[in-house]
Structure formats: C-alpha cells, structure tokens
C-alpha cells in the first residue's frame, strides 16, 4: 500500500501539527501533575489530541505512532465515559509522558527524513495494561444491556393501502474489500430506504449494535428482503448506488418465499419499538459524547495563522538586506550626489523609510516567544525530582519574551544543561536544607527579560552556592591558574566553572556531570554572540545569566579598513577609539605591544599582522586604535582607519570555509553599501586581557 499523495509539504504539515499537539500535551501533563488530577476538560482535550494524532499518523501510515495514540485514546475514552472510574493518576502521567517521548523520537526521525522505525511494543503494552486496569473498575453495563436486548430487524411495517400490485424482492449487497465498517454501511442502506419500501428484513440483523457483524457481511454479504408497492427501478437504483458497493444481486421473489424467508430471519427479529429504543439509546449515548466534547480546550484551528518554513524567512531577510544595500547604491550614487534634486531627495527619503520598516517587520516575523523552550524545562525538573528524590520547584517568569527563531534553537540545550546542574548540584537534599534552616523545597527561578538589544535569561537557584576557595583550589590544582586567590575578582573565580575540563564534582550523575558541560554551554552561547555570567553567594544560591542578542541577523557595526580588507566591529564591543603616539607604546619581553591608557595597560592587536594583510599604514600616528571589551576583558585593535557606523545584516561565512577551518576572530561577514564584503570580527575570540587597576595581569590561557 502506498499513499501516493504524501509528499514533502504534507510530511512537514504532519510533523508541525503533531509536534504542536505533543508539546501542548506535555505542558498539560506538567500542569495537571501539579494539581494532582485531570479536569474533565483536560480529559476531553487529551482524548481529542490522541484522536488527532491517531488519524493523522494513520494517514501517513506511521502505524506504531497511530496504534499507540489509539490505545491512549481508548484509555481516555474510558475515563471520559465513566466519571466514577478510579485510576492511578501518577502512573497515568508517567505512561503518557513515556508515550510522548516515543512520539517525539519518531517525529524527530520523520523530520530528518528517516523512517519512524521505533518499536512501540513496550510502551503499548504498558498502556494496554493500564487500560485493562481501569476497564475492570468501570461497570460498563451499557454494553451488557445492549447485548441482552432481543434482536430484531423489522423496520417498517406501515402497511399502506393495497391497490397497487405488491412485489417482493431479495437482495444481496457485497462491499468492496477495504470499505471499512460494513455493518454501518449496511445500516446506512437500511436507514435511508424507509421511504422506498413497505416492509424490510435484513441479515445479519444486529448491524446496529454489533460491530462484529461486519465480519459476517464481508463473508456472506448483506441480505435484504423487502416488500414494495411501486416500480422496483427506484429501489434497484438506490441499492446500486451504494457507496463502496462491489456487487449487487437483486431478484424478485414470490410472496411464498418471502414469507418463508421472513420467518427464517425472524428468529433474530426485534419489534419496531425495540428498534426505536435502540435508536434512542444510541442517540442518547452519542449526545453525551458530544456534550462532553463540547467543553474541550480549543486547539488553534484559526486560519489567520499560517506556518512558514524558516528557510523562506531567511531568504526573505536576505532579500530585504539586499534591498537596503541596493537602496543605498541608488540614493547615494556618486553621479546623483552632485545634483540638487529636490523631488528625488523626497522620494528617496520615503524609500528609506519603507525599507527601514520592512527590515523591522522581517525581523519581527522571525521573533518567537521563549515560552515553548521554557515549558520544556518543567519536564526536566519533574523527571529529575522523580529520579533523584529531590523536591525542587521551577518558577518561570517572562516566558513571553521574544527572540529570533535561530537563537531559540541554539539556547535550548545550554539552558537544559544549566537547569539540570541547578537541580542536581545546586539544590541540596531536603535534609541538608532543613539543617541549613531553608525551606525543604528548593526553588529554581527561570526568568527572561529584555535589556536593550540583549535578552537576559536568568537561572537562579536557592541552593548551596559556589564555594570560591574550593573552586580556586580545584582550578589551581589542575594548573589552570597562576595567580593568587586575592588577585581574582569574585566573577573571575565563579567563571572558572565555565572552563573546559573543570569539574567540582568527582562523580558524574545520570543528569549532569558538572564541568563536562558548562564549558560547552559557554561556548554555545558565545557562538551566538552572547555570554555567560555566573554569580553566587556561598550558602544562598547561584545565579547564571545568559546574555544573548535579540537577533543574530542585524547588528550595529563600525566598519574599519586594513589594507584592502574591510572589517566590521560590533558597536557594543567598542569602548573608544583614538590615535596613539609611538612613544605611548610599551613592549614586553616577548615583543607584545601594549599601551597605557589612564593608568591601565592594554595589549595591542595589529590586524594587519594578525591576519597577514599587506598595508601601507604601519606607524601608530598613521592608523587608529580601537579599544574593545567583552566580559570585562579588553584589548586595543590597530587598524588603518574607521569607515563609519552602519547597521549590518550578519551573514555566516560559507559552509565550505567553516568546514575547512575555524578562523580565529571571524564571526561572519556582511555586505557594505557598495556591494563589497566586510568580515565581522568576533571580539571574544581574540586574546583579551582582564585589565585590573594596580595589576597588569595577563591571564594564563588553559
């Protein structure tokens, strides 16, 4: 079987929607867990989510996903139908979360273009066991009653006045192989033929209440005998047009045979009243189901929102970036500049305004709230509480803060790592907390807020905090330091936990091996132009602040020139620029040039030497020094000249080059107004020096 209509956009739509449902489901689990019970609405919502996943996955022929969702749907069907049923809430949440994990892994495979080949046997068995356990509790007497009812199939006995000749017919309907639910299709045939016949009997007679009747219909076909007063053509046509009909036998019979057959069919026949009763009870049941479904949480079905591939947004942004450059090329064209063109001026101002707004808009489109990422942290804290036997609450603040889509993707992992560290190592055990006079429940606060062109993501715990002396000794024993303890600022010592190979914990737990990951966290954050700040008060907790740019895409830059090459420095990193005199320059024993500014000593990096660029500007009075700083560490960059300040659209270097070599100090590139390329410098990658008053320490690199 192959579904020829499935193509890439379909798969994308499937993955997108299913992922959304699963995320919502997971959040629902976490929030319900804190209450300790599923509300009626939640049960309905979960039922519907599972129903949707089942249907969509079946359409995509992802059977393991579909069957698992189906089984979960069954569980919630029972819960929905029987409010009294007693169920193990905690176990159910565990089973659902485990199912969610299964779905997630499979979806990831689908997203990557692989087959979802995961085996659902284990989890399916768990769900089945659970289903049985609650089924046992529920007294599903409706079914029992339905089974007991006398079965009958006479539908319409309103014998009309005779006068027209009466005819009798026998019909056998066979459905196509994959018609599905043949019993209901048969039921539908009978239901709609009322007006065509005087009297009708059919076999199997229990199509209404017995879903297994389908089996018999598949084997023997659906038999109908009826009495009619008019021409048989209408009836025959009606039967012939049955949807999914494979073959139809339609024969006139004698009244004798008809009578015989009715008695044959009779042993299973119910009275018309019974039929109506059945009908009514069905109606009742369906109504109940519907009524319940009514209160459900609405899922976003609004068509005013569309999902767009990020690649399209990326290229839209590229185009807008191009437009901005093209605009500059037109309006600042040297051939026009010399002319006095009033209306041209006016028009180009208008153009500038529009392109500016467009740029803002494109940026805004790419912004997404951090809430989804933050919500995932609840699950992590929950699982860790479970496994480590800790009692930690997670408070989330400012999750509506928005950042660029690309950034969101890059911070999820680091954030997860930090949260794990907090719960695992930061927060003490309940006993320890009691001894320290703290609330037994530890708290981790996850907060996001805007701060200028940055977003701050703050993870604060009220755990034991960092012991600075211990940190220092540890680092010193690993040979990471050669400075006395007193010389180092608190921040410098705290930041030691971000160093590679640095670990304060001997044992590595399932969730985190501190030190193994924090340097990776810090690297990841730096790779998106952000940085990590660690604050801690021993005994009272640790705060880790991720300072990340709102967007990777546009920065305010200063363009500089070195020989033929052009570089762009992020304005935020520049402290000042100045011309120096040759006599201000000091050289240390290794020939490293340095300059004293207001009593502080800064190392100098000559870009022309650093990147081996030929230039005519070699003496300090010809060129310019730019003092840059990141994370309280600075240096002075020596360039030929400043070209001017400009908002630039950041582009990454081509993959080919990145794959070839990680070039120190280059963070990307951008296009200048004249179409030429400028390389963006990433200040943090240069050998900066922490400049402290009184001391001119140069930190030793690990």
């Amino acid at each position: 079987m192959s579904n020829s209509f499935i193509d890439e956009p379909m798969t994308e739509a499937y993955v997108y929607e299913t992922t959304q449902i699963i995320d919502t489901l997971e959040q629902l689990m976490i929030s319900s867990e804190s209450v300790g019970i599923f509300s009626e609405e939640n049960i309905n919502a979960i039922f519907r989510f599972m129903h949707t996943i089942k249907g969509s996955s079946a359409m995509m022929m992802f059977n393991d996903i579909s069957t698992l969702a189906h089984r979960m749907e069954d569980v919630f069907f029972v819960l929905r139908e029987n409010e009294q049923v007693k169920y193990d809430f905690t176990l159910l949440v565990d089973v659902i979360l485990e199912s969610i994990d299964f779905f997630k892994i499979e979806l990831m495979k689908i997203k990557e273009g692989e087959r979802p080949d995961g085996d659902n046997t284990d989890i399916l068995a768990k769900v089945s066991v659970y289903l049985e356990s609650i089924k046992g509790c529920s007294t599903n007497n409706e079914k029992a009653v339905a089974k007991q009812t006398e079965k009958q199939n006479k539908v319409n006995q309103t014998v009309k006045e005779t006068g027209v000749s009466t005819k009798y017919f026998k019909a056998n309907l066979r459905f196509k192989k994959d018609a599905d639910m043949e019993n209901i299709r048969s039921f539908s045939v009978i239901h709609n033929m009322n007006e065509l016949v005087e009297e009708v009997y059919y076999k199997p007679s229990d199509v209404m209440e017995n879903d297994e009747a389908s089996e018999e219909i598949r084997k023997n076909g659906f038999w109908i005998i009826c009495k009619i007063k008019e021409e048989e053509e209408r009836l025959k046509n009606y039967l012939k047009n049955t949807i999914f009909l494979d073959s139809l036998e339609f024969n006139e019979i004698e009244s004798e045979e008809y009578k015989q057959l009715t008695t044959k069919f009779q042993d299973k026949i119910s009275t018309e009243n019974e039929w109506n009763k059945n009908k009514n009870s069905l109606k009742e049941k369906a109504k109940q189901i519907e009524k319940k479904a009514k209160h459900e949480v609405t899922m976003s079905s609004s068509q005013s929102i569309i999902s767009v591939n990020v690649e399209k947004l990326d290229s839209l942004m590229d185009m807008v970036g191009e437009l901005v450059i093209a605009e500059a090329m037109v309006t600042q064209n040297p051939e026009i500049l010399s002319l006095e063109l009033e209306s041209f001026e006016k028009a180009s101002r208008q153009l500038h305004k529009i392109t500016g707004e467009m740029q803002d808009l494109v940026m805004a489109i790419r912004m997404v709230p951090l809430s989804t990422t933050f919500m995932k942290m609840h699950r992590i804290v929950r699982d860790m509480n479970r496994k480590l036997g800790k009692n930690v609450a997670l408070d989330v603040l400012g999750e509506e803060t928005e950042v660029d889509k690309n950034i969101i993707e890059k911070i999820a992992d680091p954030l997860m790592h930090i949260i794990r560290n907090c719960v695992d190592h930061g927060i003490e055990s309940e006993d320890e907390r009691k001894l320290a006079g703290k609330d037994t429940q530890g708290t981790v606060v996850l907060e996001a807020k805007n701060s200028g062109s940055d977003v701050l993501i703050i993870v604060r715990d009220d755990g034991k905090g960092l012991n600075k002396r211990e940190l220092y000794n540890k680092a010193a024993s690993q040979g990471l330091l050669n400075r006395p303890f007193e010389d180092m600022s608190d921040r410098e010592i705290n930041n030691l936990i971000l160093k590679a190979g640095f670990s304060t914990k001997e044992e590595v737990t399932e969730f985190s091996g501190r030190g193994v990951g924090m340097d990776v966290v810090s690297k990841n954050i730096e790779s998106i132009g952000g940085n990590v700040i660690v604050e801690s008060e021993y005994g009272f907790g640790t705060t880790i602040i991720l300072k990340i740019p709102l967007t990777l895409a546009i920065i305010e830059g200063m363009n500089i020139k070195v020989g033929e090459a052009r570089f762009t420095l992020p304005i935020v990193a520049i402290k000042e620029s100045f011309r120096a005199k040759e006599m201000d320059i000091i050289k240390d024993t290794e020939g490293q040039e340095m300059i004293m500014v207001r009593g502080l000593c800064y190392p100098i990096i000559r870009l022309s030497e650093f990147y081996k660029i030929p230039t005519q500007v070699n003496t300090y009075d010809e060129g310019i020094l730019i003092m840059v700083e990141e994370n309280e560490r600075s240096c002075c960059i020596f360039a030929d000249e400043l070209l001017g300040q400009q908002q630039v659209v950041v582009k990454t270097l081509p993959d080919f080059i990145k794959r070839y070599k990680q070039i120190k100090g280059l963070g990307g590139c951008t296009l200048l107004g004249d179409g030429s390329i400028s390389l963006i410098l990433s200040i943090g990658e240069f050998d900066l020096s922490s400049v402290k008053e009184k001391y001119n320490n140069k930190e030793v690199k690990p």
């Binding site: 081509p654 080919f656 080059i657 070839y660 590139c669 390389l679």
Partner: protein, 165 residues
Amino acid sequence: MNEELNNVLDVMEEDTQKGKFLTFSLGNEYYGIDIMYVTEIVGIQPITVVPELPDFIRGIINLRGKIIPVMDARLKFKKNPKEYNDRTCIIVVDVLDLSIGIIVDAVAEVLNISEDNIVPPPNLNSGGRKYIKSVAKSNDNVTLILDCEKLLNENELDELMIANE
C-alpha cells in the same frame, strides 16, 4: 558567451543534462564538469580575501547577496598562477549542498559526451590528477572530467598535507 551558456543551463531539464559537460580551459588543458553540478557562470568578480586559508581558496564573492567561496583551479591543481583577465570565469557549482565558485582561464562549451568515449584516468595521484574522475575523447580533444565531490571534500587531507609540510 557566458550568457549563452547560462541560457543553455536554464533551459536544460534534469533528464536532458545526462552526458553533458561544461568544458573549460587551464592553459592548454581542457577540463569538463558534469553539467548537473553547474548552477551559473559569471565573469571574474571582486574577491574579498579571507585570512588564514590556503592560497587556492582566493576568498569570497558577493553573488547577488549570496556569499560564495571561490577556489582558483590553477592553484588547486598546483599550476602556475595566471593573472585574471576578461576571459577569466567563475563557474559556480553546487555539490552536496555546498556552493563554490571555481576560477578558470576561460569556459569553452557544453559538450555531449557519450559513455563509450569516457575512460578511467591513468592511475597517477599527484597534482590535480587526483581530482580527475575520467578522461573523455571528443573531436580529437582530450577532456579531463573533474570529480566535483572530491574537489570539494578532500580538504581534511589537504590540511594534513599542509600541516606536514
């Protein structure tokens, strides 16, 4: 000339690209690239040098807003450099999701080469020869067919060689 070839590229559907090669020259030698890799041919452009890269990667160019690295085929094949002129071309190829421009002396034509005329290369692993996938004969000319994937992906090996030098 470039425009004509670009038009040819535009018109060609995937299935008609089979057996077609874009040929170019380096000095007296003729090379061919499977047309399915080629996305565009442009004249020589201003190149921005990127530091710390081997000399055959000349830098990056701005191709209508797309930043593309350019590789000098002469230098890659360890031939003597030649000054660029108005015949110099950049052949933009897309190989395994990587875009790169290859700087050549001049592009020649699009050639139909039937499989019968293609033979494996002589087994010599030096200079540019290791990037030759096969050798084709047509109209008394010998065209060296490039292995584009090797050309772009043998960098780690190159780097090792540089490090050992």
